[in-house]
Every structure is written in structure tokens, then in C-alpha cells.
Symmetry: C2
Amino acid sequence: MKHSTQQRESILESLRMASGPLTPAEILEAARKRVPGMGIATVYRNLKLLLRSGLAREIALPGSSSRYELFNLEHHHHFQCRDCLQVYCLHGCPGGLHALTPEGFVLEEHEIVLYGRCAGCNLGYQ
Amino acid sequence: MKHSTQQRESILESLRMASGPLTPAEILEAARKRVPGMGIATVYRNLKLLLRSGLAREIALPGSSSRYELFNLEHHHHFQCRDCLQVYCLHGCPGGLHALTPEGFVLEEHEIVLYGRCAGCNLGYQ
DNA sequence: ATACTTGCAAAAGTTTTGCAGGTTA
DNA sequence: TAACCTGCAAAACTTTTGCAAGTAT
């Protein structure tokens, strides 16, 4: 992460603009709007660097590639719609997770994912 | 899931005996102890069937293949040790997740994963 | 000038699929 | 026997890597 390049800026911009965490393919698609010839290897390489430097984090969900989001937002969790598969960011956190942690274990972080139907997809079924 | 075979029984047995969710490779390794020639395609095919029939569920974690566990246990969550990468099952659930769900969304399920250091790995660092 | 980055293509790794042969009910 | 399953190998995907050329500092 020493140099700033068009490609890198475009990847960061795509993550900043996103309404939720993105897959590498989604990042590439978004970033190519600003830097047409960009290759997928560049996306993967930059994501690795962002993870290593603590600027981004990875969210793994069943059924698709991991998704990535910048780590500068306030602490939050995610909701995946089972219909449209979109991932939304949520506000807040239930807390109380230390109660789940076994004796002798040290809790450093946590991730919560809710699954269900988003508002848009519910409408279609009413 | 119409016929019972050695391979299928051995996969189920591996999942039953496991102390946490297993990756396909871990399932194959365990199942081969009973059915030596078993192939990885059989594991994947059976996992698909188990998922489709609701007997198993998939847990996706960053950095490795998805893990699978039988869906007959009581509701619980998981802890992954960042040192040894082992995944442990936890007891209980903090609840209060409806409060996170946005207006108009329907919450059907949820998954919580804690990350940190397990008791065994903590000892090594004291 | 030097170190860093990129695109491409190849390599490595994971998951799925077609098919011929074997097994279960 | 009819439907189902399996192993193998190939195919389809996803992610990583080597390298030569280009770019940022």
C-alpha cells in the first residue's frame, strides 16, 4: 500500500459507495466503470492488502464468494435476503456475547448475520 | 436420499461424532476411516442432499471452505480460535435480534460467530 | 532510479458434472 | 428390474502467482 493508483482508488471508491459488503466480482464490475481494463487479480491483490492493513474486513456467507467492506464504519452487522440475496448493513448490536464465551476463552470479535426477507421482496409476496 | 449406503452412513456418522462443524475435506478424512476408497465428490453430493432436505446446515467462515453440521442439535452458535482455527459450538443465544431487523424485513434465522483465543491456545501464551 | 503495481496467462485449489459400472430396495 | 449411488476424470469456477511492462514516488 505504498503507491496510489487509479485501480486502487477505484476499488476503494467502490467499497465506499457500496450499501453493503461486496464480492470481488462486484467490486471489479463497479471499479471497471472508472478503470475499464482492470483485471480481477488486481482486485484480489488489493483486497489482501486492505485486509492485512486492517482497512477492510471479510464477511463469509454460505453460497457465494466472501464479501468485503471498509472497516471504518461504526460497529454493525448484516442481513441477507434469501430471496434477492442482497446483503444489508444493520445498525446496533445486541451485546451479551461474553455470556456465550466459555471459561478460559478470550473473545476478541464477533459477527452476526440475520437471514430472512427484505422489505422489497416481501412486497412481491403480499 | 432414497438409499442407504456405506458412504452415506459414514458421512452422517462423521458429522454426528464431530465436536463442531466440519469442512468437506475433514468429512472425507473422517469418513474414509470407515470407507477407505471414498471420493470427495460423494461428500459434496451428500452434503448437497443433506442441505436440501434440511438435515444439515452450512457455516461459512473467512479463510476456509464452508463447514457443515447436522441440524438436529439445539439452537447454538460458534467460536473460532484465531490461533488454532478450530471451531467450537457454544451454548445459548443472546436473543434481541428482532431489534436489529429493519422495518418491513422478516427475520427467519440468524448466525453468530465469535472470534478469539480458545483456552488451549491461551495457555501457550501465558 | 527504485520500488511498487498492473494485466495477462498459467497455476493451484475448490466444487460440480457426465458417465459407466455397481448397489439398494 | 428400476431407480439410485459411487468413483473417476473432466469441466467449471475461484483465487493465487510469475513475469514483463508500466507507473508512482
